[in-house]
């Protein structure tokens, strides 16, 4: 399918060239102004401008060639049924253009990354479908069976038998992966790996019939996609982070996607994800936390202010209040602080918070 789409574009180029017309690619411009939030569907709708990347426009000529080269590479990957990371792609394409031009095709990975995003939009597909892998980072444990068709064999992954390290979530959870069985009531996404390990040790997932995932900070694409797939299967998603803007941002990325997103990231968002904490108001609710707060830095305040401007936060009264409170008290608190009072308090906190939703 992707191959057909790409060849379509190529044929158009050929026609232009044979007709003596300047060849060009049609791409979407990206940037904040073109991103529109649709309040009716509570989602980001992209209405970017279609522009032409023209061969004869000397500022765009190199980009034209780069775009063509990446398309060529993707075709090669698909035809050979091979995957490569976007960094790998960068290196494979980073060849000398020849003695005449004193540059390499790509100077920095940033250039090829940007073009990959454009091509995703051009072809209306995720890069995983282009045989391009991204970094993976998430860990999972819990009552779930996944079949992984890998290297010509079928490998069965049992989330309850992953031991202390958990199952490393791959970058592509769609192609060659199938969720066979789930025996959980919900999914808990925990910001920090240390907290996940605590919960894993306790066998929180067994005691509470939950799947616990840690993105280990900013969620990777594979992790986001898996969370979305689990939501599609009917599982409620609960996100648990530090009480600071970076943690809150993780929640919003899982729920809405990154602010620079394009509409194709829709497949990576878990629209119904819920936030269980930590909020700034938790400091009041659990007084012992008062002594365990950290002073917020200027960057934190700046990020909080930025988040206040996000359209979906603007309409959420609770979040407005919480963010404003944060800016006022200038204090943040970590998930780990919940362990201060006792080791079991952590899971208690989670159960209590999750309970509020049922």
């Amino acid at each position: 399918m992707i191959e057909a789409k790409i060849m379509d574009i190529i044929r158009k180029l050929e026609e232009m060239i044979r007709n003596g017309e300047e060849p060009y690619f049609e791409i979407f411009t990206r940037g904040r102004d073109e991103i529109i939030y649709d309040a009716n569907t509570d989602s980001i709708v992209y209405r970017g401008k279609k522009i032409k990347r023209r061969f004869l426009s000397t500022f765009q000529t190199k980009k034209f060639l780069q775009t063509l080269a990446i398309l060529r590479k993707i075709l090669e990957l698909k035809r050979q049924q091979v995957k490569t990371s976007i960094r790998g792609l960068f290196y494979q394409l980073k060849y000398d253009l020849g003695e005449e031009i004193d540059e390499v095709l790509f100077e920095e990975q940033e250039e090829s990354n940007e073009l990959i995003e454009e091509i995703e939009m051009m072809l209306n597909t995720l890069r995983e479908d282009l045989n391009l892998t991204s970094d993976r980072r998430g860990i999972l444990a819990g009552p779930i069976i996944i079949e992984d068709y890998f290297g010509g064999e079928k490998i069965v992954v049992d989330g309850t038998k992953q031991g202390r390290s958990g199952w490393a979530i791959p970058s592509d959870v769609d192609n060659g992966m199938e969720i066979k069985e789930i025996d959980a009531d919900y999914v808990l996404v925990v910001e920090k790996d240390a907290i996940w390990q605590r919960l894993n040790e306790e066998k929180f997932w067994e005691k509470n019939k939950a799947i616990i995932i840690t993105p280990k900070g900013q969620p990777s694409r594979g992790t986001r996609r898996l969370i979305r797939k689990l939501e599609e299967l009917g599982l409620p998603i609960f996100v648990f982070t530090d009480a600071d803007p970076w943690g809150w941002y993780i929640y919003w990325v899982i729920k809405k996607g990154s602010i620079n997103l394009s509409f194709i990231e829709e497949r990576l968002t878990a629209k119904k994800a819920n936030f269980i904490g930590m909020y700034p108001s938790d400091i009041e609710r659990y007084p012992f936390l008062k002594k365990l707060t950290i002073t917020a830095r200027d960057e934190d305040i700046k990020k909080a202010r930025e988040m206040l401007s996000y359209p979906w936060i603007k309409r959420d009264k609770r979040w407005q209040a919480e963010l404003e409170k944060f800016i006022e008290i200038r204090k943040k608190v970590e998930q780990d602080a919940l362990q201060a009072i006792s080791f079991s308090f952590l899971s208690q906190y989670v159960k209590e918070k999750v309970g509020e939703f049922f």
Partner: protein, 486 residues
């Protein structure tokens, strides 16, 4: 002068003997070039007056410190008495009426003979071929009487046409450089491509400069003055022998016809234009001139004013340059005398200002010359010109070129002349700038095409890899580039 001393009378010849630098004989190199210039100018004039395509041979031989200079031409030749008068007396000549000839003051050739005498004591040898006769005269100048001293003369039958002058010179030095006679002849040839020159140097090197143009140059005479710039004493002078003021005005003023006479008379009803020319008063002359200036007349006619052939000169200069252009002829007048300014410019490897008056190269006194002053007053950078790469040829043609001094190597500061020289130079500056701008644009377009062609090749390679074909996409792209990038 102390009282009691008798005022001594010296002859013209004596005067110039004592003041030979005034004739251009100062410095050993300059003296030789001046001598060559005077004799060659004479030859060229003689040919052109008769409409003959000139052929001139210059030979310089050296014997220790004595040089022998001989100049031979294919002019009309001269009669015996003409030879004696022209070469044996200073301040005579055949220049009647206003003719645009190079030598003007009747000093030139005889000055050479005087100089030769002063430095070597030897007589000059003159041979003329005319009307089947060959006349050979050896003469000196009687300095006190300003009369020729004929040492020997001979006449015999021989066919041919032309004149040969041979003089011995000391206190001169032959130099190959820009002040020497060879360079002078070269520059002369540039402005006179209708002439052929042969030059034999003291080192026995022979240089032949062929005729580059077959257009003969004919000098006409001109008797009229232009009303816009005539001055009172001139007006009185030209009317002095006329029957009436009005007939004199009609006869002697250029662009002045009956209609304009009526106009003038209407403006000055109190002057009697019917009276004899000699009766005109200075006051009246002033008034007439004032009115003439208010009336306005079209610029002097070109007739009779012979300048360089810009096209041929441009072509000659273009052999070593990337761009040549010239200004349109500028004709105006000063003090009633019409003049023409021509400028040819070339962008080459060196910066040279080639000055000419009546197509004769001005080699010396560069810093005293008006042409140089005007050239330096212009901000050439504004016209995107590097002075070091600009070769400019300026020719001023006139019936009476105003020189700074008797040396006749520098043009005097006359405002009308200054204005026209400047305008012509600015015009040339504009043309150069226009060309440079077009060129820069062309360069930019070329660079852009080159850039795109390189990428076209790579794009074609990518397409071939994708389509697995041998199609030459780059050929299509090259064509698109050629067509679309201007």
């Amino acid at each position: 002068m102390p009282q009691g001393d008798a005022i001594q009378e010296i002859s013209v010849a004596e005067f110039f003997q004592k003041n030979r630098q005034m004739l251009g004989y100062q410095g050993r190199v300059r003296s030789l070039t001046t001598a060559v210039h005077e004799l060659v100018s004479n030859s060229l004039d003689a040919c052109e007056v008769q409409g003959i395509l000139p052929e001139i041979e210059v030979k310089i031989k050296k014997n220790d410190d004595e040089y022998i200079l001989s100049v031979k031409d294919n002019g009309p030749g001269m009669e015996k008495e003409e030879i004696k008068k022209a070469f044996g007396k200073l301040l005579t000549g055949t220049k009647f009426g206003m003719r645009q000839e190079r030598g003007q003051q009747g000093i030139g050739a005889s000055g050479v003979i005087l100089f030769s005498m002063l430095t070597t004591g030897k007589p000059a040898k003159i041979i003329s071929w005319k009307d089947g006769k060959r006349i050979e005269i050896h003469l000196k100048i009687d300095v006190k009487k300003n009369e020729p001293i004929v040492i020997s003369e001979r006449e015999e039958k021989e066919d041919g046409r032309g004149l040969l002058i041979e003089v011995a010179l000391k206190e001169v030095l032959y130099e190959q450089g820009k002040f020497g006679p060879l360079e002078y002849i070269r520059r002369l040839h540039l402005a006179n491509p209708h002439a052929k020159f042969t030059f034999l140097s003291p080192f026995n090197e022979l240089f032949v400069m062929e005729r580059k143009s077959e257009k003969p140059v004919v000098l006409h005479s001109r008797e009229k003055y232009h009303p816009s710039s005539i001055v009172p004493y001139q007006l009185l002078e030209i009317l002095r022998e006329e029957r009436s003021v009005q007939s004199g005005l009609l006869k002697k003023l250029e662009r002045f016809h009956f209609q304009r006479l009526l106009e003038l008379k209407a403006r000055l009803p109190h002057i009697d234009f019917g009276k004899a020319g000699s009766a005109l008063t200075y006051d009246e002359a002033e008034q007439i001139i004032a009115e003439l200036q208010k009336m306005g007349f079209s610029s002097p006619s070109e007739k009779g004013l012979v300048g360089i052939d810009e096209k041929t000169v441009a072509m000659l200069l273009s052999q070593n340059s990337e761009f040549v252009c010239f200004a349109r002829k500028r004709i105006s007048s000063y003090s009633g005398v019409p003049f023409m300014v021509q400028v040819v410019a070339s962008l080459s490897q060196e910066g040279k200002l080639l000055r000419y008056a009546n197509r004769v190269p001005l080699i010396f006194d560069q810093n005293a010359c008006l042409i140089t002053a005007v050239f330096n007053s212009i901000n050439w950078k504004y016209y995107k010109v590097e002075k070091e790469k600009l070769t400019m040829l300026v020719n001023v043609s006139s019936f009476y070129v105003p020189y700074q001094s008797a040396g006749k190597q520098a043009i005097a500061e006359i405002p009308e002349l200054e204005r026209e020289i400047k305008n012509a130079m600015l015009e040339v500056g504009r043309k150069i700038r226009e060309w440079k701008e077009k060129n820069v644009r062309k360069e930019i377009v070329e660079k852009k095409k080159e850039f795109l062609r390189k990428y076209a090749k790579l794009v074609a390679e990518e397409l071939r890899r994708i389509t697995n074909s041998n199609e030459r996409y780059e050929d299509f792209l090259y064509e698109i580039i050629e067509r679309r990038i201007k």
